[in-house]
Symmetry: C2
Subunit: 332 residues, 2 copies
Amino acid sequence: MGRRNNQSPDELVQRLLRGDRRAVARVITMVEDQAENTDYIMKMIFHHTGRSVIIGLTGSGGSGKSTLVDHLIGRFRAMDKTVGVVAVDPSSPFSGGALLGDRIRFQSHSLDDGVYIRSMGSRGYLGGLARATADVVRVMEAMGNEVVIIETLGAGHDEVDIIHVAQTCLLVLTPGMGDDIQAMKAGIMEIADIIVLNKADLDGANLCLRSLEATVHYGLDDKARWIPRVIPTVACASKSTGIKGVDELVNAIMEHQKYLFETRKIDEVMAKRIEQELGLVFKDEVEKVVFAGLKGTGKKRKYIESIRAGHTDPYSVVEEVLAMFLKTDKME
Amino acid sequence: MGRRNNQSPDELVQRLLRGDRRAVARVITMVEDQAENTDYIMKMIFHHTGRSVIIGLTGSGGSGKSTLVDHLIGRFRAMDKTVGVVAVDPSSPFSGGALLGDRIRFQSHSLDDGVYIRSMGSRGYLGGLARATADVVRVMEAMGNEVVIIETLGAGHDEVDIIHVAQTCLLVLTPGMGDDIQAMKAGIMEIADIIVLNKADLDGANLCLRSLEATVHYGLDDKARWIPRVIPTVACASKSTGIKGVDELVNAIMEHQKYLFETRKIDEVMAKRIEQELGLVFKDEVEKVVFAGLKGTGKKRKYIESIRAGHTDPYSVVEEVLAMFLKTDKME
């Protein structure tokens, strides 16, 4: 282990590109910690990415996302595709790293070399979670995964940022969320390519399905537009029998991918991903530079004291500090 | 309405400080949109804030947070204290504004002039949600609320940022979340001043209570430290009878406030709040300046094209752009 820690970034990149799982784990940890050389490594691997199918899967807690992901992994493995999974799990925002982690989730694939799973908690990243996740997706592509699945709870800014990195977006719902569905209607069109109604064996599923179908068809004036598919599934962790709809879901994903490539919308999607990543890296780096500067000088403490004493306020302080950091003649 | 929209920021501030609800609503909307003059108004009202009791309440969906807040409002009103509530509701990240909003939540206090409630969704803010929420808390203080309650789902970075603005932090749990509690143990000490075990009439509540009690007492070496109180409550929206534990909860809040002032820890808490706000405003403003610059010049589009064409990568672009914006001789 000691030797490994001392190896050069270039060696690490070479091993990562060959799919060496330890190198991958090491780089992901570097990404999470924003360790030295991380940017160098990310630059090196960047050109080995951008060819994977990236699936985003979002839905509230208890909707059965993890179980669905488990089934999706199984289906993609049956097609002999390698799969990477980034499970963003903000269930505990109170401590660093992922808590339930890889040990509990996705047990059935833990011995499969064609599957690489990483859980990410919502805290403990020097940079933002969204930026770290976007970078980890790139790492998973660079190590050779043909499919990368991003799973998130879908609540909060970070997670919405993350999901925009995906090409095909799945929104997982369950019956009996009447109000929520009403509330989401406005936004469903905007983000979901496929709506999964999981636990479709529950009461009210049919009504819910009809309502969703009506929603996705509503207001379509553009014939070339993708109409979000609504797929009922039964994928429950406690019922090993009676899995339903997963094949249909995989078909819908394939169909959407085909649509993206045939209509060349994939170009837009890829451009948007880069724009999103650019924004995330940007935000992170600006914060790092500016905050590091403030920290070093002990000025921050003085500002806080001065605000508490009533001599100034946070808004004026920020103006003052920005004037110190930002060039006034920027971007001519 | 037309006349109101044209009034000067100073008039608006004067009306806000007198508790005029329309002026408050107007300023909150300005904060959400980061409208012109918002900073000016925030500076003006800042010195009229910092004297309210600020309570943060966090917990997962379905734990009964809103019902608890409803009861807390009732108790504080019975003490003749005015109450402001900021309910951060990221249940739908997919569209702007709060969806279920004030109409459904907290109905019982909708006609009380001593209560001001504002829901905030997780999207549609030009600045970040956390920054907007911190500013709205200041607005609620400036309008004269003696107590301000911040309610959040507690999942995600933004919300953890928000909760750090509070002086007394309540974590709402329910029985039967065994794994979650285990998972949270590490972090409970860090953030919660009071742990509310709601739905304490459910199976497993006693076991859960004992486990929580053991957790909060674990590893206490510092005698001057606040030992988080664990309060069982039954506060269910569907049961109008049988409310339990809310008085104890209010007592625990009062006790914690007393502790803060007696030990002078309130100074630390207030300093931390300012530090937190400084960070949030900072982050927001930096992004605004830098992104506005990029947008205007159309350079962003060129960068994206260049990355897609394989000529560069997001990390190198960010370096390049930062070099344009940031002074190299910063902070000597």
